[in-house]
Symmetry: D3
Subunit: 244 residues, 6 copies
């Protein structure tokens, strides 16, 4: 099994971090490639950043299709361009946001998403609707720290993540917490234990779920919502004709 | 990894069939037990049948917890007693209905469930609400054949499954079909190819997803909705005291 | 008119309490039987407890059908097995939870449910969805006292019920309060007066509504959702044939 | 017990018909008054007609309050002015539309409303939302006959009601049918039997439910949504002062 | 272009205020008439007040149709009788509540409505459902001042509006504030600037939107929901015949 | 007033067509610029096409901000990148899809969208959810003709549009039809008249609504959902510092 994990931004440090974490948990017979999108912003903090990254992500999806991968994973917690990726892909494409929200919806009555700052909260609420899981979503709550800060002050980060997770549990009724940003990776286990709830690290869970879907032979439907774009189909026909 | 698959009814033939199918796809390092509930109806065709089966299912969940299993799977497409099972279980419990609905919701715009007969349709619609996935559900459609008939007339079964799946796709906008009954197992691949959509066999998909969740260290939250029942907690306290 | 009220747990004290309350308000021409389920837990505090009680409840429903009752009422505020009961019953079956939620939805903009402890809150929220009344439900709030405590400390119980009801009114916008547990019976009138809202005691209201439905000749539909289970139909056919 | 039933239009024939039907089923100790609104249209077929009738209805509600009634019932299947009536009433006010929709929601998976003509269908759908019961509503379907026609051709009316009810059951999944117009009164029993579903005559059911609510001491909350209008409160204060 | 703005209550002061505000922003080629409903309450603070005002509003709509207006606007923030007005009108009718809610839904993630007092909150929430915009509505919050008080104490009004708007933004996630009462007119700009959100004055926005719809040739559909009432159609036929 | 209309694809013919139509209806004091996005696909028929076009659209939005425009309009019926545009824009940005859906929701009970082909239907349904208007949406229906075909066979296009619009009205209950593709421009008036409903041409309506919003001083909130991206804010700070 061969899976490509795409970091949609251009940060090499984050790409290496993802590779480090996933290599520890990947299936034994699995070939894992973690890559990033060149010439785009080093972080995705807005719909604007997403828009700039997606064309590069699409090229990587085409590459994954050409080079015989079994699946590709979007490893940014807003699944930028997921629908477009599926349109042009004949192999399974998953996103860490969609996948972890669905897992979270199964593991408790309601889930909450921890995001970096207050301004991203309405976007996270909207994502709940994007994936039609708004009835399973308790809230989105901001951490109030930047990725740089969580990196440089891990102890304060741990405390702050715990404080906000506890608010989600006690005020919003969350029973599952999704750590909705790379800066929070690695804190899941501590939260689960201390609060007696389930805490989800999106990238890890999504890798295992993607492996499972590939093993079960399940991929996204190529009719309707994720149908191959007419422009691609026309190009394919032209290429075929030219080849004759 | 050690997983117990529970057939909630008393049919030995169906239990063996499930074991046969799952043993072909289970992970190489995985110990799989497929068992059934004794002294209950041989098939589950109503809420009444479910109610009679659940107490026996709960005993098997207790056994799975005692005997060091990593997870248990309810292998009947109505997930009878799933909430009660999770309340009394410290290991992950999954249901083939909930799990396959969530996978289906990711693989296309909307999914439809094929069920055995017309009378089960409102129950399937209700299950969509039970798992808060009603916005991803296109419809439930009846096959109009009994399990006995699908067994004895496989060719007619294949044709009928294809006909009903096509109606779900063309009339209801389904892009994913869930084969919501044991009698339909084995037809998924044919449907996917012919209709250009995704067809899900719940038991197989759920086994792989459950393996993935165990590997990722994810289980249901034990706070709130799935909290251990007070009666069990009190009994545990009593037992502990008596042991002193 | 002949109505059977079923206490789904095995507590004789609670059964007698229900009988005492209902006998004071029952219609003059009405024959009332209040009974309980033997060999089950003495209280229902979880989905697990419900699952253990339902088979016994179903036997009482069969008895009510055999013995010429006009209706049966499930007198536990989670309506355990209501759907299964209706499947096997040709006489009307009502539940105190479903009935009081519908009455509450008519009597004000939104209603809140008072339940015993924090852990039952997500179950109560789910019940709102079970009966498709989530848009009329403001909240579920825990009393934070056990039934034993409300029994032994009635004055503290009164104060605590008032405090929590007031929170539901002032914080959640409730205009109707449902006293969602036997331990709160008898406090409705005081709350209505002091808070200027409507407070509902589920068992009393459900008895009167059930009498009204019997008088109006209304019972649940026996097609689709509450259709007689195939196993029961087959047994009936067998019995008839044997009788010939 | 003393109940006033208000026919919001000016048709004396319809008022007498309602009185005739209700007198047969009213509780033995109950004093029933059926009245109508003078100087308004003889039928309510639009929001415009409703608007013209409501001021007269409000005067009758004031009368019912002054004259010691226990409850008032709006006997037109659009509950014109129900919210305004409750604002100015200290006694219970019910509407036959709201009440029968709630009863219908309990008696089967989904209900459909039969209305007179195609143009009223969107209004009926909206009423489902008004009472927050849209998730229990399967459809609204037009009879395609006027009240005059159902009166003069009862046999054709019976056939047409049966035909449309059957469509609601078979195409929309209805298990309960509400006869949403006076012209259909009297056909409920036949439909229930022939289609194996539950058919509701709104006026009869609402009378019995209203009797039940009065007996149980339940009325609408006078806080928030149905609070007494400030203009009425000010007038009351002025009157009191003047009286001193 | 000729537009009639209808103040549904009888307050001449408010009518003049509306005229003053709108005349400053109306299109240069536009003939504007601001009028009020005679013989009705001077303020609309309840469903009861609305019911009393609507018959007079309907007469003004008829007048606007007869006298060649291009559109009519209901200038009371509950759009009393909007549906009935559209039924009898062949020219466009808009309401300031519906229009400003739709504009608000476009301008940010969620909007909140400021209303005069606590008791109107559930009515405003209901209006969100009336216009099917409940998913865009964050909350309704009361100002806690009467119109008289906002008039006499403008500085306190400004502070209180700011305080409540800030709560809506910070506690409920509102990004758009609708000033849902005439007493708050004139404060929009200050709020927008200080809170960095969008604040909407319903009457002004609705005038411009209505001008735009007239210019684009858009009016409400006269089929189904807003179809001409049968009584009006019959009267028209009779009139025509008589004229022959 | 100065408005920039952006055709997100690279088709010069379509850009000229839009300019031609809008110049006829634009306000007399209004300076209108219609432009397109260079180096992108000539048509947008998929999420993939949208993703490729958005970066160019964003550059035009920046230009509109720099050059003193009052508003910008996205003139493609999927509003590609609308959220990202608003994030980076201090002037109002509107989309023809969002705007026409909101207008449609006001003009009748439900609206339907006509789109080019069957495969776009799920995307249109999703757009209804994107703008939180799913409860006002009756359906999306495909025309089954390409833009090229509607151009070359206008008479067949007219007939086909009428046929599909009629299906939406008669089968789905639509009272408003949105012509959701440039190829259908110009047919609105005929449909309105023949079917007695309201038919909306998105580009024209959106121009007038946008003029109205600018005149009323309303623009999108710059807090939360549409907040300026951190990367832009940081760049602005850097620029400022450098300038010192």
């Amino acid at each position: 099994m061969k899976i490509m994990v795409i970091n949609p931004n251009s940060s090499i440090a984050m790409t290496e971090h993802i590779a480090h974490v996933l290599n520890k948990i990947k299936g034994c017979d699995m070939e894992l490639t973690v890559t990033h999108t060149p010439d785009v912003p080093p972080a995705i903090e807005s719909a604007y950043d997403e828009a700039l990254c997606v064309p590069g992500v699409l090229k990587l999806i085409e590459k994954a299709n050409r080079e015989g991968y079994d699946a590709a994973i979007l490893a940014c917690f807003s699944d930028p361009g997921l629908e477009a990726c599926r349109e042009i892909s004949n192999i399974l494409v998953t996103g860490i946001e969609e996948t972890s929200m669905h897992v979270a919806a199964m593991m408790g009555a309601k889930f909450s998403i921890l995001t970096m700052n207050q301004e991203r909260v309405p976007a996270k609420v909207r994502e709940g609707r994007r994936f039609k899981l708004e009835h399973s979503m308790a809230s989105a709550r901001p951490l109030g720290m930047s990725v740089a800060e969580t990196d440089s002050e891990p102890e304060r980060a741990r405390e702050q993540i715990m404080r906000v997770a506890r608010q989600a549990v006690e005020c919003d009724g969350a029973e599952v917490i999704i750590l909705g940003c790379a800066g929070m990776a690695g804190y899941a286990e501590g939260i689960s234990e201390e609060l007696g709830i389930t805490c989800i690290d999106p990238t890890s869970v999504t890798l295992k779920i993607t492996e499972a879907l590939v093993a079960a032979g399940v991929k996204h439907a190529k009719r309707g919502f994720f149908a191959t774009p007419p422009s691609i189909r026309r190009a394919a026909v032209t290429t075929k004709k030219a080849a004759k």
